[in-house]
């Protein structure tokens, strides 16, 4: 009898892992598919064969079609990489914030990272620093994001405790303040070209991003992502029962919260630094993924990364191909797709809660 249940439980556990593995494989396949689509489509189309040829020649060190090689390796590939890393980072950070705040409306910028980053970037462009060196803009953005996150955290901390409700309110206050400063700088800008530059940046986009931008985000996002996954079980406990229940199950709540806020804010700040403010990815993708794979963060976190990455690659593909110009901004596309989808989710929720 006892032997029999042991076998049953064992096959159940194996089944759980098979399920988890196939979910991740499925999402990876979607990501790879969108990656290939984004490489071959664009203002200049490259066929799959031609793409394979370019990569093959590159691999064996032979001369390939120069134009195609430049388009693929210098323009599209870094851009697709950044889209994937930014989308994945925002989706993971959003997932973490929603669990920590136990609030499905939480987004990666909830503790002021996005508005602080935006202010940093606007200062960089306004003062002309951004035009001195291509990395000064992301650097100032990251500084703004970091400062605002620390400011919000410090404001909300009393006697070593940081209640999430206080954190939420401090985040709203600091965000409004920084957004007001950003607006002030916008209204003070006389030069119409600079103003256009500012507005474009605030709407988010990936045009003109190259390998040096990939280098900024790659390691922190990958390491940060694995770091967050290492805390997946704590996130489950915090999301399911709240801080006191998590503590009673052995989680060092304040310490865990500090690490998670730090990592999630850092990767959000980096995302903002290389792509501008891109809304809705960090809010909608965690929701969507949770609907598809359930609330277990061990699966939810990697799945949101893959889903967010694929989503932003495709959204960026839309900005590049639909109007064939840079006038359609990435942040606009994500909001266009994201907002109605979000309303649909809310409507579904309403309906299911009435049943």
């Amino acid at each position: 009898m006892r032997q029999e249940t042991a076998v049953e439980v064992e096959s159940f556990v194996v089944g759980q892992w098979t399920k988890r593995g196939s979910v991740i494989l499925g999402f990876s396949a979607v990501l790879i598919l969108s990656l290939v689509m984004a490489l071959v489509w664009g203002s200049v189309s490259v066929s799959l064969d031609e793409m394979a040829a370019v990569f093959w020649h590159r691999l064996i060190g032979e001369e390939a079609n120069r134009l195609q090689e430049a388009i693929l390796l210098q323009i599209r590939l870094p851009r697709v990489f950044i889209a994937a890393l930014v989308g994945g980072a925002l989706a993971m950070a959003g997932t973490v914030m929603q669990a920590l705040f136990r609030n499905p409306m939480a987004d990666p910028g909830i503790i002021g990272v996005s508005s602080g980053g935006a202010l940093g970037a606007v200062i960089a462009i306004f003062t002309g620093l951004a035009f001195l060196h291509p990395l000064l803009l992301p650097a100032l953005t990251l500084i703004g994001a970091t400062l605002s996150a620390f400011l919000v955290y410090a404001l909300a901390t009393r006697q070593g405790r940081t209640p999430v409700t206080t954190l939420l309110l401090a985040g709203i206050a600091v965000s409004s303040f920084f957004t007001a400063l950003t607006s002030l700088l916008l209204s003070l800008t006389q030069n119409i070209l600079v103003l256009r530059e500012l507005l474009f940046w605030l709407m988010g986009g990936l045009d003109g991003r190259g390998w040096h931008h990939v280098r900024i985000v790659f390691l922190p996002v990958v390491l940060g992502g694995f770091g967050l996954i290492a805390f997946a079980r704590e996130l489950n406990l915090l999301a399911a029962g709240g801080e006191e229940e998590a503590a009673s199950l052995g989680v060092e709540v304040e310490w865990t919260k500090r690490i998670l806020l730090l990592v999630a804010s850092l990767i959000t700040g980096l995302a903002v630094a290389v792509s501008g403010v891109i809304g809705f990815v960090g809010l909608v993708i965690p929701h969507l993924t949770r609907l598809l794979v359930g609330p277990d963060h061990r699966i939810l976190l990697p799945a949101s990364f893959l889903c967010g990455a694929a989503f932003l690659i495709l959204a960026d593909l839309v900005t590049r191909t639909v109007f064939q110009s840079e006038e359609l901004r990435l942040g606009v596309v994500t909001a266009f797709v994201g907002a109605p989808f979000f309303l649909y989710l809310l409507w579904q929720r309403e309906r299911s809660s009435r049943l």
Binding site: T5, E10, V13, N236, L237, A240, G242, S248, G250, E252
Partner: protein, 259 residues
């Protein structure tokens, strides 16, 4: 036998309002201790202090001879499980996952639940009769069903001390008896349990010992027949009661009189 939990002169206040004062208490393995007293007497605070969820203002709380404040949450959670009064469960985790969360203090960071953990979770669900909705989202359960899930999660922790805050509050008559019966059985197998219980008759029926708390102070400690008396209850609850029954035949029955 050596004491499992000891409290010496514990004082606790929130924003200057004293909630507990001069509390001395020991709990031995094998006993089910009932914590009774009116609303606001400090029952939940006492449980939270022992679980290290809040630090005391003054006094010492020891677990197997060691100061609770010097232990980390993980080592406390390996020995102490708390069944909270209100289930604040959010996000639609399936019941089985919630019960498995009780294994958290026994797993290291990069370890996953193994076959043994699943088996313990399964046992806990069988004991609390929650296995029939193991795969259902916990957010869809009724209040009483959730309370049993939380009891299952606490059992999955394999604690030496079980703290229960109103474990029967949302349960129907049958499950009130089964839940407390289960806790008493576990106690007789060697763990200890401390349960805040409003229903004096249930408390008298299942507990080995009762503690009557009144405005933060222990009024009396003793066997049910010693504590549940008109002289003790009336001043504390401010209600006239009659205590019926025979100490030789069974537990006391407390009947409140109409005001």
């Amino acid at each position: 036998m050596k004491e499992l939990v000891g409290l010496q002169d514990v004082k606790m206040s929130f924003d200057g309002r004293v909630v507990l004062e001069g509390v001395d208490l020991t709990i031995q393995p094998g006993e089910l201790v009932g914590l009774i007293g009116p609303n606001g007497a400090g029952k939940s605070t006492l449980l939270r202090l022992i679980a290290k969820l809040i630090p005391p203002d003054q006094g010492a709380i020891t677990l197997e001879g060691r100061e609770v404040q010097s232990l980390n949450h993980r080592s406390v959670a390996q020995k102490v499980a708390l069944v909270p009064q209100q289930a604040q469960l959010a996000f639609s985790f399936p019941v089985r996952e919630v019960v498995l969360m009780g294994r958290h203090p026994h797993l290291s960071r990069f370890q996953s639940e193994g076959v043994e953990d699943y088996r313990i979770a399964q046992e806990s669900m069988v004991a609390t009769e929650t296995e029939q909705f193991a795969e259902r989202p916990v957010t869809e359960l009724s209040g009483g069903e959730r309370q049993r899930v939380l009891l299952a999660r606490a059992l999955a922790q394999k604690p030496r001390l079980l703290l229960l805050d109103e474990p029967t509050a949302h349960l129907d008559l049958k499950y009130q008896l089964r839940a407390l019966g289960l806790v008493r059985r576990l106690a007789s197998q060697g763990i200890a349990a401390l349960a805040a219980i409003h229903d004096l008759n249930l408390a008298g029926r299942f507990c080995n010992r009762l503690i009557l708390l009144d405005r933060g102070k222990i009024r009396v400690v003793g066997m049910p027949w010693e504590v549940l008396t008109e002289a003790h209850l009336e001043p504390v609850y401010g209600v006239h009661v009659r205590v019926q029954g025979d100490p030789n035949l069974g537990p006391p029955l407390v009947v409140p009189e109409e005001e």
